[in-house]
């Protein structure tokens, strides 16, 4: 059942409160030890940095897309806030010729922040559309470059539009004071950011985004549309960054284009990376660690070893310590972590998840009731005909076709290069046929996309086993379940826990997919596909890499899983023993076309089929 109240709402809230307490508490402690304005300022800046880094984490952590542009959004928010919130008297001094009559605008800071957030989010939507068009996938260079372009555009505009921004040298100024005499707004914003970040990660959208991050193709095959989830993550993340940026501007009292450019980008990214970009707890830890490290570097740069009470009279090692040691420290931290620990200190460990696991340790969950088998809808039909696929001059498929009814098991066999996988790729939207068509329940779906086909009931597994490695068994199955609950409402949707139990994975439900052995991994893939309440399960070489015994077991598992959710099955495999053992009917392929079809016995005895497998003799 989703959402699980304690896992997805209660504990994240508790965790956010604790993290807030820890970070704010650390700040208070530091200020008690090192009194004075400098310490106070350091902690204030740290808290604001935390807000911004949390915002970046929401996007980079959940989508896996590296963004250099969030500080650019910060610039947009910061300038919007400043121009709106600075009093008209001040504006008359700095930017009397501001366009759009902005020189006369007098807004309270609160309203100004809200407007700044809205403007930044609007920009995020525009950029998000651009990213979607360029096909952002976790790790893709072009998406990162687009975000970098944003950073440069905002920098250039703020440098070269003095009427609005005060330009490069002069910038904008606030009278210092006002609402930021107290830290209340910062504390509030920090707590809010923590809560939003955690709740988002546990939400439906957050989970789907993470699935797409882990394996974009598998996510789409389970009905997830990564572009939509990435857009949601982007807008939420930019909103948080916008709040942080506005606060930063107010706290600073001045705003120059350089403030929101490369250096700040480096700082925030390093903080995120060091802690662990896939976790909110990691982001907080990263902020704390890097603030401490940076401050230490700065002090060393100023005072050398004297800060430790060792008076070295500035000799041999003194040359290491200069001002701006911070940047070297940051750069080296970035390098060091990328080389030796790219996942950061905490990877994706979350405080509230750990707490929950500890507290629940002694309360075993009862094993769920077995699922009732769903009677397959035998009227359900998958029909493909005249399919033609050409890769350049090479015809992978010609006049290929297939017919399957709900409730039956159809096998596809043939030697390597015969076109079997290509056909499955066509039916699951990964390859467009140059001719031919296929339909499900009479509805033509020849040009549908992968995730649309999954939502229509055609769900596949992969020969190379594509699980969401960092997610647990439960979370893997949940992804499909979430999609099923929104898009497969006409069907009986199996309960996730019960399905996990049926697949024999109950004992492993909270283990990461990457930790499972091979047999369990295959079972998980099957369960995950079944959770989508499919009309047809397409299994691509499910026994690849299995021993004979394991293959026999697989026959049972597939039959059982398909019966449980009432799905028809289409299986490709090279293992003739497996296919003949499981199929009601078989299609035999060779050289891109169907050479035989019929019952397993008929096809096995077919001379053409035998020849295709063994190869024909020299004069055949």
């Amino acid at each position: 059942m989703f959402p699980k109240f304690d896992r997805d709402i209660a504990f994240p809230l508790i965790g956010s409160l604790i993290l807030f307490g820890l970070l704010a508490g650390a700040g208070v402690l530091y200020q008690a030890l090192f009194t004075g304005g400098a310490a106070e300022r350091l902690i204030t800046v740290m808290l604001i940095d935390a807000i911004i880094v949390l915002g970046i984490q929401v996007y980079v952590g959940n989508t896996g897309v590296l963004s250099f542009g969030h500080i650019g959004f910060g610039a947009i928010a910061g300038y919007t806030f400043a121009v709106l919130a600075i009093s008209p008297e001040e504006k008359a001094k700095r930017i009397p010729d501001a366009p759009f009559g902005l020189a006369d605008v007098d807004m309270s800071s609160t309203v100004a922040i809200i407007v700044a957030v809205m403007v930044a989010c609007a920009a995020a939507v525009i950029l998000g559309i651009g990213l979607a068009r360029s096909g952002a996938q976790s790790g893709a260079v072009s998406a990162t470059v687009i975000t970098l372009a944003l950073l440069f555009v905002t920098h250039e505009v703020s440098r070269n539009w003095p009427e609005l921004t005060g330009g490069e040298r002069v910038g904008l100024f606030f009278p210092i004071g006002g609402a930021l005499d107290t830290r209340a707004p910062i504390y509030l914003a920090l707590l809010g950011s923590l809560i939003v970040a955690r709740l988002y990660a546990q939400s439906r959208s957050g989970r789907l985004a993470v699935a797409a991050r882990e394996d974009n193709l598998a996510a789409r095959a389970m009905g997830v549309n990564p572009l939509v989830q990435q857009m949601i993550a982007l807008v939420i993340s930019v909103a948080i960054v916008a709040v942080g940026a506005s606060l930063s501007v107010y706290e600073d009292g001045s705003l120059l284009p350089e403030n929101f450019f490369f250096n700040f980008t480096l700082l925030t990214l390093v903080m995120l990376i060091v802690g662990g970009r896939n976790s909110v707890t990691g982001a907080v830890l990263g902020v704390a660690v890097m603030t401490a490290g940076r401050e230490l570097a700065r002090r060393l740069g100023q005072d050398g070893f004297e800060i430790f009470g060792i008076g070295l009279d500035g000799k041999p090692l003194d040359w290491i310590f200069r001002e701006n040691l911070q940047t070297v420290f940051l750069g080296l931290s970035m390098l060091g972590f990328m080389i030796w620990r790219p996942k950061g200190l905490l990877d994706d460990w979350e405080l509230d998840e750990w707490l929950r696991a500890r507290i629940r340790r002694n309360q075993p969950e009862p094993k769920p009731e077995p699922l009732l088998e769903v009677v397959a809808d035998t009227a359900s039909v998958l029909h493909a005909e005249n399919i033609e696929v050409a890769f350049g001059g090479f015809k992978a498929l010609s006049d290929a076709g297939l017919h399957a009814n709900g409730g039956e098991v159809v096998g596809i066999i043939g030697p390597n290069g015969a076109g079997k996988t290509t056909l499955v790729n066509v039916i699951t939207g990964l390859v467009q046929p140059s001719a031919g068509s296929f339909s499900i329940d009479g509805e033509d779906v020849t040009n549908a996309q992968t995730h649309e086909l999954a939502r229509r009931g055609i769900v596949r597994t992969f020969q190379n086993l594509r699980l969401f490695s960092a997610l647990t068994v439960r979370e893997n199955v949940e992804v499909s379940s979430l999609i099923a609950h929104s898009h497969r409402t006409g069907r009986t949707i199996p309960d996730t826990d019960a399905l996990i139990g049926e697949a024999g994975l109950w004992a492993h439900r909270d283990r990461r997919a990457s930790e499972l052995d091979y047999g369990n991994s295959r079972r998980l893939e099957l369960a995950r596909a079944a959770a989508l309440a499919p009309s047809f399960l397409l299994l691509d070489e499910p026994t690849s890499g299995m021993s004979d015994n394991e293959s026999l077991e697989m026959i049972e598992q597939v039959r059982h899983m398909a019966a449980t959710v009432g799905a028809g099955v289409i299986v490709i495999d090279h293992d003739l023993g497996f296919i003949t053992g499981i199929s009601d009917r078989i299609y035999a392929f060779d050289q891109g076309t169907v050479i035989a079809t019929g019952t397993p016995d008929e096809v096995q005895a077919n001379a053409r089929v035998q020849a295709a497998y063994l190869g024909s003799a020299a004069d055949a």
Binding site: I146, G331, P342
Partner: protein
Amino acid sequence: MIELLQNLIDGLGRGSIYALLALGVAVIFGVMHLLNFAHGELITVSGYAAYAASNQGWSWYLITPLIIICAIGASLLIERIAFSRVRGASDFTLLLTSFGVHFVVSAIFLLYVSASVKTFSRPGWVTDTFSVGSLNIEVFDTIVIIVTVITLLATTWLLQRTMFGLALRAAAADFDTARLMGVKSDSVIRGAFALSGLLAGIAGVFWLMRSGSTTPSAGIDPMLSGVLAALIGGLGSLRGAVLGGFVLGLAEVLLRSRLPDGIAPLTDGVVFVLIALLFIFRPQGLITVAHAERV
């Protein structure tokens, strides 16, 4: 008309330098899938060497090879120290590593040399012009274009006619199969960085002659131009990188002269917006190399 021709020559002059920078970036991307944000630092390093040499009274006949040697050396050093350790890592990791290297190198100069601008004297002919009809042509632009063309021809010869070039192309096309042929991964990657350094050095000579100065952050502008030009051309393609360089140079000059006065200072911003639009509508860049079919 005259103005257009003038712009054309200016644009080609700029574009030449960008083309060299872009080619340097593309060469490394081809073998390692790494977008080198530290490419500009090669010019920073050479700039400081030029400054030091200039103070010693060296003439530009000596400073020029010095710049090139420094660029090559710095490139190999950076590969050894940083990039060799992240070979085969994800794009995410590679991008951030290159980002980090950029910062460390520029920060080291900031710390241990000076934040202030170091100027050095430029050769006298840099600002000379000569006339062809009613066109005023800078001697500098002419020399840049000529040297660039020679460099590009030489690089083409290197890639097409030597075994090293062949190995580099093979590794960029299919690294594993190249290894099956006996191509050593270390050799080919180091060779790529050396070549990249050489190209950056030649571009750097002209960049430094033009600017007559260096600062710790002098590397950002050339890096950006090189990276953007390579991306415009399409990251898989060396020819694309060169084309991208010329396109960028021409675009900058033409935009600056044609944009209405109010927006002209925002030329760079406009260029970025155009580039972003290009990536949105054509993420593979301008050149989709018509690959001969894979059999």
